[in-house]
Amino acid sequence: MDMNRRQFFKVCAVGLGGSSMAALGMAPPAAFADQVRHFKLASTRETRNTCPYCSVGCGLIMYSQGDGGKNVVQEIIHIEGDADHPVNRGTLCPKGAGLLDFVHSPNRLKYPQIREPGSNEWKRLEWDDALDRIAKLMKEDRDANFIERNEQGQTVNRWLTTGFLAASASSNEAGYITHKVVRSLGILGFDNQARV
């Protein structure tokens, strides 16, 4: 079939005058095209993602609304299993099926918080301060407890007083980076969270 000569199926206000409708004496009222011009075109974006809960990694389709403009925040309105995904074929477990509430939860943690030793109060702090503080405390602990050699004098470079727990639905690449960072510090106790 010669696809190059194929014409577009173009429905335009002027064009309806040349359509089968007009040719068969069934043209829409003149006001039709004008009316249509005042309708608002809404956009629902559909996006593929992976469920963050566990290491099964079920496929999701997330529906969000917003007009697609650059500065418009898209609001997620519905989440369902991705029927094309070979892992879950559109199904979700009860936790996955409740993802929309997880996204919109008022209790969701949106910024770093700290509870100082001895205090019972959570304080909000900036990301930079939080990361600096984590780095400082990790270094202090590592400097104090790092084991360079064992009793036989062999080099081991262990840091046993700190552990690390990484997220569940990480990609291979994220897993590789986690391993590189954590192991090169000497931490032995680390895991990827396979279930939440």
């Binding site: 199926f9 173009k10 829409p28 075109l41 559109g90």
Partner: protein
């Protein structure tokens, strides 16, 4: 779609691949007619929807009692299936005589109470036209060149073509049809899709099937992927605020084309051809936004080219 609860035994079914093609039901045209009648109520294009319903009823009558013409060459069908080509290739079969008998039968079966002079003229014109001219029109319509035939005749020529191909399709053994990735044209007849449909029940829940504009077979096509350029980036699903038809246009920013999708979850009684004709307002708005449509609907010449 979110409410899938698996019963015992369904886990195995869910783990297998979804069926590649879905044949249309034997009463497809009857369903279309009924749906068009429903949609025609209080619709600005009600006269045309009623005409399309009458055409579909004629198509059903012909499908129920098809004309006695030889079936397409069985050897060719078998060889096409073996070599991964569409067994009912539209561009070849439309040049044979087979489908002309179906067009005749559709014209004989067609009746419409609210006839008008323009419609009578069109039918007269078509009835008086010889088979070689009819065939030339069929070739033009199948290859998407609307300006090569009179707009008034398109719905009838299209109906004849659809009925012939659906009849042949329903007589086919498609067991050997293999799914291929990015199947943008009908695996059975090679025609472009008319629309997509997002299914809402059973094993095919949440899957998208493309509906053939000619033979009405449905074939699986991965969702969230442009059916024209295969792009998966930043697709938009555009619809009219509060549209009752469950139709959203999958619009691709990279090739600027769109394909309408019917979400059965939002319109459980929906059917693609009727939903498409009833939502031309969406096409009108999208055309104004600069989006192009490649998907033909054989029961309408849009008249918008040039």
């Amino acid at each position: 779609m979110s409410g899938t609860i698996l019963e015992p035994g369904q886990i195995e079914a869910a783990a297998s691949k979804p069926p590649f093609v879905q044949l249309p039901p034997r009463n497809l045209f009857e369903l279309r007619a009924a749906r068009l009648d429903t949609l025609a109520q209080n619709h600005p294009l009600s006269a045309y929807l009623a005409l399309a319903a009458a055409i579909c009823r004629a198509q059903q009558a012909v499908l129920d009692a098809p004309p006695d013409v030889p079936a397409p060459n069985a050897h060719r069908i078998r060889e096409s299936l073996v070599h991964g080509l569409p067994p009912l290739a539209a561009d070849t079969l439309v040049r044979d005589d087979g489908w002309l008998a179906f067009l005749d039968a559709v014209l004989r079966a067609f009746t419409l109470a609210a006839a008008n002079p323009a419609l009578d003229d069109a039918l007269d014109h078509l009835r008086k036209t010889g088979s070689s001219q009819r065939k030339a029109w069929g070739v033009a319509l199948v290859s998407g060149q609307y300006d090569l035939l009179p707009a008034a005749l398109v719905p009838f020529v299209g109906a004849g073509l659809q009925t012939a191909w659906s009849h042949w399709l329903l007589g086919l053994d498609l067991g050997e049809l293999r799914e291929r990735e990015d199947q943008a044209y009908c695996p059975c007849c090679g025609a472009p899709p008319m629309a997509g449909v997002i299914r809402h029940r059973g094993q095919v829940n949440g899957l998208r099937y493309l509906v053939c504009s000619l033979c009405s077979v449905e074939w699986h096509y991965v969702r969230l992927k442009c059916s024209h350029c295969q792009s998966t980036k930043r697709l938009d699903y555009l619809h009219l605020d509060g549209s009752p038809h469950g139709v959203r246009a999958e619009a691709c920013p990279s090739c600027k084309t769109y394909l309408k999708q019917l979400y059965l979850e939002h319109a459980p009684d929906g059917e693609c051809l009727s939903a498409d004709l009833a939502s031309l307002d969406l096409d009108l708005l999208l055309a104004e936004q600069g989006y192009l449509r490649r998907a033909p609907n054989l029961l309408l010449a849009p008249g918008g080219e040039g």
